[in-house]
């Protein structure tokens, strides 16, 4: 009969191994499941990670409303919204794969570390099988990388920097929202028509990845139509009074100011620019103009009168179907659902988050599995319609959606507080499509999907 014995040193070593194993985050340990957070009961949990504080908190609140509406529709509640117009008919309002959809939410605080901590908690503690949300590209890139490591799907919400599907792209991450390149490509011809080819632009740019890629995209697109770039000054995200940055514009020979700012920053910088009389200014016989590359109706509401006549681009607008017809079917269905539930029309941030949730659910249904690799396969190269943007492709090479881009202008005589921008033009998807290896997106590698577990 053998006798089991263990030395003191052996006991300590064994204890250390067991302790380390228990202390290791559960997302990096294997289990009996085939993939991370495989749903085994009658429910499936989605994680919505949005800014509930910080400069983009209003957008986060609108995103959360949209997520809740999407969950309601997926579970068969409400009027079904865009489930009725979506070209794919895999979703029947009975949850996802027969499982009732539940959700947890977190606050990104518009900070990458807080967003990662929040997403990690949703994956580890709440068992979220998909993370969505956004409003800052810095946050999106950070959370996308975490989801890749953890083996869950990231369906990006509002993130506009090229990096998200460029140098920081990941196989487990997908972006429905348009990007900086698309804004530049759509805006440049419209700006040339409106203001001429002989223009000198001065840029004030938010000092983080979204600012850099948007400035680059708009600069390259406008230089291609003849504009000259006079200066580019980076401004901190925490800046509230931009008057010190506006003042040097008066001393330059620029006749256009491009404000690469978003949210509260854009509201303040535009207000300051108008206060300093830039819009009343004549330079070299030309009327001085201001351009805001990425527009949102929430921002327009914050900027008030100052947005009148100012050009920008949007991913979507709640008036699209009414003004431009059935190509943008789905828009009215979503606006009706959202408007009746909350009393005001949805923002583009709300739209993209709602659509991403539906697209994820649909991909699971079509794949017949929650396995992230099956979902990736179902989404790559997926062509769909009826979600408000017209025919759309989820390109396999970079997981970026390609669809029409809306060019808007601040409305001169709004009829209501929700009618602040007018649609000037919709640029067809073909004109904003680029090669996967375009220099503005270079250096990235999707890698392979990670199912985790």
């Amino acid at each position: 009969m053998s006798k089991f014995s263990i030395s003191r040193r052996g006991l300590i070593k064994t204890g250390a191994y067991v302790g380390a194993g228990l202390a290791m985050p559960t997302i990096f340990t294997s289990s009996a499941n085939a993939f991370t957070n495989e749903p085994t009961g009658s429910t499936v949990t989605l994680g919505f990670n949005v800014p509930q504080s910080g400069p983009y908190a209003d957008e986060g609140a609108d995103e959360l409303r949209a997520f809740q509406l999407a969950v309601e529709h997926l579970n068969g509640g409400g009027d079904g919204g865009m489930l009725n117009t979506f070209s794919s008919k895999a979703l029947q309002g009975s949850g996802i794969m027969g499982k009732k959809v539940e959700f947890v939410s977190g606050d990104t605080q518009t900070k990458s570390d807080a967003a990662r901590a929040s997403a990690r908690s949703m994956i580890e503690k709440d068992g979220a099988v998909m993370i969505s949300g956004g409003s800052s590209s810095g946050v999106a890139v950070a959370v996308q990388a975490l989801c890749q490591e953890a083996g869950v799907i990231f369906m990006a919400g509002l993130t506009h920097a090229n990096d998200t599907t460029g140098k920081d792209r990941k196989a487990n991450g997908f972006r429905h929202f348009f990007n900086s390149y698309m804004s530049g490509a759509a805006l440049a011809p419209v700006l040339k028509n409106a203001y001429g080819a002989d223009r000198k632009a001065y840029y004030l740019t938010a000092d983080y990845n979204w600012g850099y890629t948007t400035e680059q995209a708009v600069r390259e697109s406008t230089e291609a139509v003849g504009w000259e770039t006079v200066n580019n000054v980076l401004t901190p995200l925490t800046q509230t009074d931009f008057s010190s940055y506006i003042a040097p514009v008066l001393q330059s020979d620029a006749d256009v100011l491009v404000l690469v700012h978003y949210g509260g920053n854009m509201v303040n910088s535009l207000t300051n620019a108008v206060q300093f009389g830039l819009r009343d200014r004549m330079v070299n016989g030309k009327q001085f103009e201001i351009v805001v590359p990425l527009y949102s109706e929430l921002m327009a509401r914050g900027a008030g009168e100052n947005v009148k006549g100012i050009f920008g681009s949007q991913n979507w607008d709640w008036k699209l179907e009414n003004q431009l017809g059935s190509r943008y079917i789905g828009t009215n269905a979503f606006v009706r659902s959202f408007g009746e539930k909350y009393g005001f029309p949805p923002s583009q941030a709300a739209h993209t988050c709602y659509v991403q949730t539906l697209l994820y659910a649909d991909a699971v249904e079509r794949a017949g599995s929650f396995n992230p690799c099956a979902v990736v396969e179902a989404l790559e190269g997926f062509e769909f319609d009826g979600l408000g943007n017209g025919p759309t492709l989820y390109r396999a090479d970079d997981h970026q959606c390609f669809k029409d881009v809306v060019v808007v202008k601040g409305k001169e005589n709004p009829e209501s507080e929700f009618d602040l921008v007018e649609i000037v033009e919709v640029t067809p998807a073909e004109q904003v499509t680029y090669a996967p290896d375009h220099p503005q997106f270079a250096g990235g590698d999707l890698g392979t999907c990670n199912p985790g577990a």
Binding site: S53, P55, A57, S243, A247, G264, N272, N306
Partner: protein, 343 residues
Amino acid sequence: MEAILLQILNGLDKGSAYALIALGLTLIFGTLGVVNFAHGALFMIGAFCAVIFSRILSLSTVTEDPTRKDFLGNPLKIETPYVESWFGPELGSVLINWSVPLSIILAIPVMILVGLAMERGLIKYFYKRPHADQILVTFGLAIVLQEIIKYFFGANPIPTPAPDVFAGSFDFGALIGLEAGQIIYPYWRLVYFAFAAAIIAAVFSFLQFTTFGMVVRAGMADRETVGLLGINIDKRFTIMFAIAAVVAGLAGVMYTPINSPNYHMGMDFLVLSFVVVVVGGMGSLPGAVLAGFLLGILESFASMAQVLSVVPGINQIIIYLVAIVILLTRPRGLMGRKGVMEE
């Protein structure tokens, strides 16, 4: 030359806000010995008094226009402000247009009440506690106040424009004989500077030329002796807290046309204003005002493209760099008094 003049104007403007907030902070510290990290929240509450007053003036009757549709296809709702119905369209629209300066009427009683409630309801229990405790509790209070504002008003900035007559800008350069168009400056920013100067002068005059102010100054110098003379110095200090709250609140009201109010604006100013107080000298009212304008101007210069091209990011740290230099060379700040925070 023009660029430098413009940045000086900008700096005076920014310095006005710093100086007003720092003045209130110093009043509270000098009288009650409390480091009030909720002072920025008082600035924010003042700004939201302007938002609330503007909304009160804009309260409307609603009628439906069946010929036009809202976003859901229902008849469009047309709003007619009550003040236009009561005072006629012309006077009514003027009242609405002047809502920011008029909101001072609302802001003064509100700020007095908020100040008294804050001091009597919370801060008085921390007089004898360490400064660290005071900072923690007032910082916590500031977070609570800003979350309340966010709950009711959302996180997006709310446009609160100046009266039309002050909405534009003018050629300041032409006034002083420079080439036209080189120094364009907004009217309202000059109004703000003048307003700040008036408030600062009023506070100093109040402390300098009234019996109440004299007693308060005596109490600031030697609280116990004044108390032994049978004067209720605590009551006067409580009133000074309310006055400091009013100063911060009015600074917030008048600041709203410069940058649209949002729930975070108090925090944006608080840390900088606290640095201003330390640089000026803890407890020194002239020091707070001087440092406010000085640091405002320095920050403006540091934000010039020419400066940033040489030292990127200097605008974000210039105030702290100057604070370090001043505190190394003059540990009590520019005009600090001996003994303050040195025990």
